[in-house]
């Protein structure tokens, strides 16, 4: 009798534990739903008072103007895209070359050192990169280009390039390493040099993985805040790469603490967050489906 009771309580305990574990796993779902619902409810209510067209395509972001507040986010989208594009133009070729070097050229010992160093690089907090851009890099870039603006889009783009480099390098390297050995061996057996093998066999085979790396890097760069906030000068205007610019992320960081809770400006910041999320989500999603296709091809 007692044995049976003990068994029943053991089963009960097992069920309880499983339910508790399930509850923990559901926290992520609840959180994601909560974030979306909150963003949409807070951001959505801005569109009763301003039109969505003016919000997306308006060229003036002057939310605190006393006479005629204006909530056009085009300059902010422009700033984000400008800085991110510079970052990708710099980091993709460099990252790809470094990835090829690490995957195919480096001696095993070099590889042992380079890989952890690249990994550590991605651990450096963004505010540290931001400080570096603000104090050191800005001076270098100003001396090099002779621009009259110390803080500008180029400065933000370059520091962002350094920040996304580890992502691009390690993912591109994974993609190159994942190409089946036989491909490489076949090319070498046909008399191709190592470089010819890399260029005409490895890189084409790894291309979708590399593309996924680029998209992930892009998504990361779009969402980055501190480094860009400290490096770009934060003027919401559509200008050249040597002029100050302002990204969507910086705008949220700067203005959130200055708004009245529940006011129109407050709501537009949430709407801006939705816009930002849609962009990063699109890039992550692209990277994800390309990555999935790659895995399917690998098998």
């Amino acid at each position: 009798m007692r044995g049976k009771e003990k068994k029943r309580s053991a089963i009960w305990k097992e069920t309880l534990i499983e339910k508790a574990l399930l509850a923990s796993a559901l926290v992520s779902v609840v959180v994601v739903v909560l974030i979306f619902a909150f963003l949409i409810s807070q951001g959505g209510s801005a569109f009763g008072r301003i039109s969505i067209i003016d919000f997306l395509l308006g060229t003036k972001w002057e939310p605190t103007s006393v006479i005629a507040p204006s909530f056009g986010t085009l300059p902010l989208l422009y700033g984000t895209m400008l800085v991110t594009s510079i970052a990708m133009v710099v980091s993709v070729p460099l990252g790809l070359m470094a990835a090829i070097y690490i995957a195919e050229v480096a001696y095993p010992l070099e590889k042992e050192i380079l890989k952890p160093v690249i990994e550590l690089l991605s651990a450096v907090p963004s505010v540290i990169y931001g400080l570096f851009a603000l104090v050191v890099l800005a001076t270098w870039i100003q001396q090099l280009t002779g621009t009259s603006y110390r803080l500008n889009a180029l400065n933000g783009g370059v520091i962002l390039a350094i920040m996304v480099l580890p992502t691009v390098v390690s993912l591109a390297e994974d993609a190159i390493t994942a190409v089946p050995r036989e491909y490489k061996e076949a090319a070498i057996a046909l008399g191709a040099s190592n470089w010819e093998t890399i260029r005409s066999v490895l890189l084409p085979s790894a291309s979708s993985g590399i593309l996924a790396a680029v998209f992930l890097g892009f998504g990361r760069a779009v969402g980055e805040t501190m480094a860009v906030l400290m490096a770009t000068g934060n003027v919401a205007a559509i200008g050249s790469i040597l002029e100050p610019t302002r990204t969507m992320t910086s705008t949220i960081a700067i203005e959130t603490l200055e708004v009245d809770f529940g006011g129109l400006h407050y709501n537009t910041l949430f709407a801006l967050a939705i816009e930002l999320f849609v962009i990063t989500f699109a890039f992550n999603y692209l990277a994800d489906i390309i990555g999935k296709r790659l895995r399917r091809m690998g098998r």
Partner: protein
Amino acid sequence: MNKKILKQRIYFQIFRVVTASVIIFILLMIGIFITNGASAINWTFLTDKPREGMTQGGIFPAIMGTLYLTLLTIAFAFPIGVASAIYLVEYAGESRLVQVINSAITNLAGVPSIIHGLFGFGLFVTYLQFGTSILSGALTLFLLVLPIVISAAREALLTVPKSFREGSLALGATKWQTVRENVLPYGLPGILTGAILALARAAGETAPILLTATFFFSAGAPAVPTSLLDGTMALSTHIYYMATQHPNPALVRSLTYGTALVLLLLVLSLNLVAIVIRTRHRRRRNW
């Protein structure tokens, strides 16, 4: 020499130079932080409050603030994250629900940290009225590091061979006994690695706590927060404030570099610890 080989040499040299330049640039950057920051760091700097409008004194409250924030964050994220991973790997099969949970984790990991910050500001700081506080900041950081803890723990559990579970179950152990005695101990190094990386990430994050937890130093503030509902200083935001909000940033540059160096050392050493645990575990693993 063969033209083909010459071409290859040239390309490989270019790649080597590019890779080396990237590494050199980074070392240069870290070198600048060390040379400019090291002179600011001394015992007083680490144990004193900021004084004379932050032009003198130290960063003790910021160190404590970062400590409180990260430890509270991990106190939320570790149990929930590990439990999630155990559920996903050990209990859940291939159900629709699991797909939903997995895609939620992926999405959560993809949300830019500033959006976490804005959400934390809207929900915790204002709506739930936790105010600008350690609690609001830690809850916000919790959202940010949860996917990191889950993914690391999941990977760690997946590397434990199936036979470990089967052996235990065959001997009559229950599911939970099997997980507790025969799976978790072997996954532990990987789980801890993930937790340490999450800790490092939380310590370095700036934007989310800028909106939810920290304030620009004020002279009357206590050196150590007395309640979780107090606002706090933190290393990362202190760097930002000193570099951009201080009336005379050039005057406090050396203190700013000092703070940055402390944060950099903290984050990098946490990462090194994680790498060491992982490699030692890999080497010792004999299954």
